[in-house]
């Protein structure tokens, strides 16, 4: 297992567009002779790109949770809600399932994604040899979950569009929603920009 043969070790690479298997040449840039798309053994700057995206997402995660995400303006009051306060008020009003759903989808999942990606990045840069299979599974989970993370943003955009009864009740989006959407999009991009093969490189070299 530890001494598996890879394309890289054989000097072979695959065009990610047309799936042609090619011999790698020693040049700064390589191109697929069939579809002319750029080819490389490993995606260049993959770790750096992913890392920068993860860091950006982590930075955005702070305002997304601290700042109010939504303003409910009613006849009686103006109320700013952060994600957490929304969850709490949902829980107080008795809708436990919804509260839990929002809590997981909006707070836990993005956080776990960030942690997971950071862990993978750290492991790759440190060339850790242990449990590449679990990391791989984790990475695939992150990729899978990514597309569901916009639930909150989606729900909110619905609310804002629907609840526009002037002077009686309106819902406004506050800056945190943007930050939150940023977190979601950036973690998805980070997952996409990561070259999963890097996880296994340590195995061949080791």
């Amino acid at each position: 297992m530890s001494a598996s043969v890879t394309g890289e070790s054989l000097g072979l690479l695959v065009c990610t567009r047309c799936r042609a298997t090619l011999r790698a040449i020693a040049a700064a840039g390589q191109r697929c002779p069939r579809c002319h798309s750029p080819v490389h053994l490993r995606r260049p700057h993959s770790i750096a790109t992913t890392a920068s995206l993860v860091i950006t997402a982590a930075l955005l995660y702070i305002p997304a949770n601290v700042l109010p995400v939504m303003r409910t303006h009613t006849f009686f009051s103006d109320e700013d809600d952060t994600i957490m306060s929304g969850v709490i008020s949902l829980a107080h009003s008795g809708s436990w399932p919804v509260a839990l759903l929002v809590f997981f989808a909006s707070i836990v999942v993005p956080l776990l994604k960030l942690i997971a990606l950071s862990e993978i990045l750290i492991a790759v840069t440190r060339k850790s040899v242990r449990q590449p299979q679990q990391r791989s599974r984790l990475f695939r989970l992150v990729e899978f979950v990514g597309r569901w993370s916009m639930l909150d943003v989606f729900a909110m955009s619905l609310l804002v569009a629907l609840v526009q009864i002037q002077s009686l009740a309106t819902v406004q989006v506050r800056p945190a929603a943007l930050a939150f959407a940023g977190v979601v999009v950036l973690t998805m991009l980070a997952a996409q920009s990561f070259d999963e093969r890097l996880l296994w490189d340590t195995q061949t070299r080791g």
């Binding site: 072979l12 090619l22 840039g29 390589q30 080819v39 700057h45 750096a48 702070i62 009051s77």
Partner: protein
Amino acid sequence: VADRATPPADELPPAVPDLPRRVRVPYVWILPIIVVITGAFLAVREKLAEGTSIEISFHTADDLEPNKTKISYKAVEIGEVKEIHVSKDRKEVIVEARIHRNVRDYLVQDTRFWVVRPRVTGANISGLGTLVSGAYIGVDVGHSTVPEDHFTGLEVPPIVTSGLPGREYILHASDIGSLSIGSTVFYRHIPAGQVVAYSLDPGGASVTVKVFINSPYDKFVTQETRFWQASGVDMSINSEGVKLHTESLASILEGGVAFQAPKESASGDSTSRDSTSTAEMAEDTSFKLYSDQERATREADTVAETFILYFQGSLRGLSVGAPVDLRGINIGEVKRLSVEYDRVAGVLRFPVEVDIFPQRIRSRARASGAKGTELDMGGHTMIDSMVAHGMRAALKDGNLLTGQKYVAVDVVKGAPAENVAWDEHPPIFPTASGGLDELTDSIGSIAKKLDKVPFDQISNHLITTMATLDQTLKSTDRLMRNVDASIAPQVTATLKEAQDAMKNAKEALSEGGSLNNDLGDTLLQLSRAAKSLGALADYLERHPEALIRGKPTDPR
């Protein structure tokens, strides 16, 4: 699958070399930098826009909520309550609030804060909007330039906010009556202002009331303006009868103050009115607050001369404040009633202290430019001369129904000569009895006059008169007897003759009598004569020539 053996690696096509790309730091690193810069920028801006933190102390945090209650100036939000906690001495509540940066200059020493919540008082309802929107903190920006960040909140909204045109005046009164903060100030029954504040004077003997007069009306506050309590219903029973006075329904509910200048200034003619009396008064000028309109308009008199009156009769019905009346003109009022024991004489005396307002007695001397009060300056001589002419003070019944009395000053004819005791302090003014006393007095004088009637002489005269009358009657009797004796028989004879004459006449005139027949014949002939005269006249009319020619002979 087996046929399609994997080609050896060398047979695979090689990758085509591409133009070497510039090796560079991946552009995505811009992202976290952008985020950090944006975040920092926003944080700094937020921090800057956060504004100033202030503390306001209130008695209670009723209706206030952290992060929810707004601070509004003229209904524009300028801040928000951030935190509420109880002060260390547990006496009040400290409200921490953030005021927007751009209105920092509002936070000066005399800026006032209060909680706007629904309030219902006697005559007005305010802050109804806060019933649904929740309370907020109102602000009135002060004029000071000294910045301040610790404020003491007002418990009630200020009546007058800065910038409202008008003036504040200070009134001094003996008691507050039914006034309260917000009570209306009336000028000719127009609501012209409000009571802003009141306080007990340090001594506790009087109160100071602050009123604010709105702009168009404050110019009517002049030196001569009088303020009086228009609180509730003013009902008075005095020697002038029953009087009921009220300013407006609202003032009945929550009291009020009215002001007006006396109709005619006490100083007299309009010509003598100098400009200071009509000039508007500066802010915070002090005025006296009278207890009612009558007193306010009456007490134009700054000079009061006090006299003591000793009355003989009972003082029942005379009260403090009763008028001193000079032929219907009120020239003063009763100040005090008391009892004193005169040791020398060993009797009780009832001194009535009265204030006379000499300014009400205008003298001709005034017009010629003489200054001073008439009663005072050379006034002694005036009063002395008046007293010498019989001027006396007397108790009179003002109102028989209520039994109220007043002091009347008038000339009493035939009063025993008296003088004003100027040496006494206050001087004693001579009195005369009046009212019922007067009645008894006059009855007495009638009796006195009756006493003087010389009934003895009268009866003597009567007796002699009677005697004379008797003699006269006797001589008359004698005369009658003479008449009887001498004249009566002649009269009888004369009557008899007359009777005969009448009888003859009657016979002559009776039917068939000679006179009657003659008369009938005479009348017949007269009638015939008349008829022929008629025929003559008829003929002459037809034949006037007959007068000359004579009657022609009948041709036949």
